[in-house]
């Protein structure tokens, strides 16, 4: 029996775009098809704006040579900002984490993006994330404190413990974001680790 031909060949403009969209995270072939047909119905203006935005993404966005955050200018606006506290560096796993921290408006120091976390079972070690760049930043002695803001899952905790070990000999204060109960949750559902850490990290009220 001969194999059935796909209705939209992957070589067609539509088929090709469907195939490309379905490679994106969280988008299956059906969603990809829906997006493509939506684009087909929309004006040429809209599609060309999208195409331009896509094309310029890789051309214009680079990593900041100081903090490894994604940026269009080097150094990035945060590293260039003279109002920020240069003695304080907050270490995060992903550029998205900076967005979350900046949204709070509560932090005025600098950042460093590791672009991942140590995950031994996935084969990601200390050399696969941007730890060397971080250690290079400490050479001039400006940094007095680092805040470990990696995730509180196993990989994030491992990365934090590893970093505290390599930074400790450099005479820089190492702190970790408080770990405990998230805002708006109920105590009865908290797990042992969270509760133990919440108790350890309790502060005067």
């Amino acid at each position: 029996m001969s194999k059935q031909e796909p209705i939209i060949p992957a070589t067609d403009a539509i088929g090709k775009l469907v195939q490309e969209f379905s490679k994106l995270p969280g988008i299956g072939p059906k969603s990809a098809q829906r997006i493509v047909f939506y684009l087909l119905r929309s004006t040429e203006d809209k599609t060309s704006t999208l195409a331009e935005a896509l094309a310029s993404l890789k051309q214009r966005v680079n990593l900041c040579s100081v903090c490894c955050n994604v940026t269009e200018s080097d150094p990035c606006p945060i590293c260039r900002n003279s109002q920020r506290d240069t003695t304080l560096v907050c270490i995060v796993e992903q550029p998205q984490d900076i967005l979350a921290l900046e949204h709070t408006g509560a932090y005025k120091g600098l950042y460093h993006v590791l672009h991942g976390a140590i995950s031994p079972t996935e084969g990601i070690g200390a050399d696969n994330i941007r730890i060397r760049e971080l250690l290079d930043r400490f050479q001039n002695g400006t940094v007095k404190e680092v805040i470990l803001a990696t995730n509180t899952n196993m990989e994030g905790e491992q990365t934090a413990m590893y970093l505290s070990r390599v930074i400790a000999p450099l005479n820089i204060k190492v702190t970790r974001l408080a770990r405990g109960l998230p805002f708006g949750t109920e105590l009865e559902y908290a797990d042992d680790v969270t509760l133990t850490r919440a108790l350890e990290g309790r502060s005067e009220f």
Binding site: P120, T121, G125, Q158, M161
Partner: protein
């Protein structure tokens, strides 16, 4: 009457894979169901009620709901033991991950293996308590091999079947045991194993953990055994144990800090 679509089991989380925006697929090792997978919706959101109970290396009581697909959905979880001291130490966390990776690699899904569950649980427990944590790891490795059917032959030469002399013999991963110095000449890829290391291996293989703690194994001896056992793992699984490489990195670093 309980809903037959739901079931509960004790389980240790041995692997976690991200899925979509905030979901996860977890791999558990359970006492009576063997290795199973579960789907956890919104586990990575800060307000997830189950996240802390389903972190890697946590021993929990987990409730599943049978779905239409291959993977059942996790509907509840309550920690039994979080092995807190393991979590608070970089080296111990890495040891825990190494142990769980080995269990994951050596087991197939849905094959009950109660002894191995017990071994995993006891090893994690030992990492939180015992002084001799290296011994706990070696004990785990040798007994894991035993329980998955690859017990190393340490009494006689696997090639000529003669009793081994009390001298340095060689471990042959392909032969699954020791070979005498004469047979070693015809064997590719063998590891020399000192008499002391052979004695320790035999003791670990034949005695309960409490009895094995009688021997003190120093770092060098432990590494000698580790190299041989890891060579055997690599031969059997035909892949690198990724967390073993990380343990080596940490070990090297520890030596640097000491010197």
């Amino acid at each position: 009457m309980p809903d037959p679509r739901e079931y509960q089991t004790e389980a240790i989380v041995i692997k976690k894979t991200k899925l979509g925006e905030a979901d996860s697929i977890l791999t558990f090792f359970t006492p009576h169901l063997g290795k199973i997978q579960g789907f956890a919706r919104s586990l990575r959101k800060p307000k997830s009620k189950m996240a802390g109970h389903l972190e890697l290396l946590t021993h929990s009581a987990v409730s599943f709901s049978k779905g239409r697909g291959n993977i059942d959905t996790i509907v509840g979880a309550q920690t039994i033991n979080a092995f807190l001291p393991v979590r608070n130490d970089l080296w111990l966390t890495s040891c825990g991950l190494y142990v769980s990776e080995l269990v994951h690699q050596f087991t197939a899904e849905h094959q009950a293996h109660y002894e191995l569950f017990q071994l995993l649980q006891e090893t994690l427990e030992r990492l939180t308590q015992e002084d001799n944590k290296e011994l706990a790891l070696r004990y785990f490795e040798v007994n894991l091999l035993e329980s998955v059917g690859y017990r190393p032959q340490l009494k006689e030469c696997v090639t000529c079947h003669k009793q081994l002399e009390p001298t340095t013999n060689y471990f042959s991963p392909a032969g699954g045991g020791l070979v005498c110095p004469d047979c070693n000449l015809n064997q590719p890829f063998t590891y020399p194993l000192s008499l002391n290391a052979q004695k320790v291996l035999k003791l670990i293989q034949n005695e309960a953990f409490a009895a094995a703690t009688r021997v003190k194994i120093d770092g060098e001896l432990s590494r000698e055994i580790d190299t041989v056992v890891n060579g055997y793992f690599k031969y059997l699984l035909e892949i690198e144990i990724r967390s073993a490489a990380w343990l080596d990195t940490l070990r090297e670093q520890r030596m640097q800090f000491k010197s």
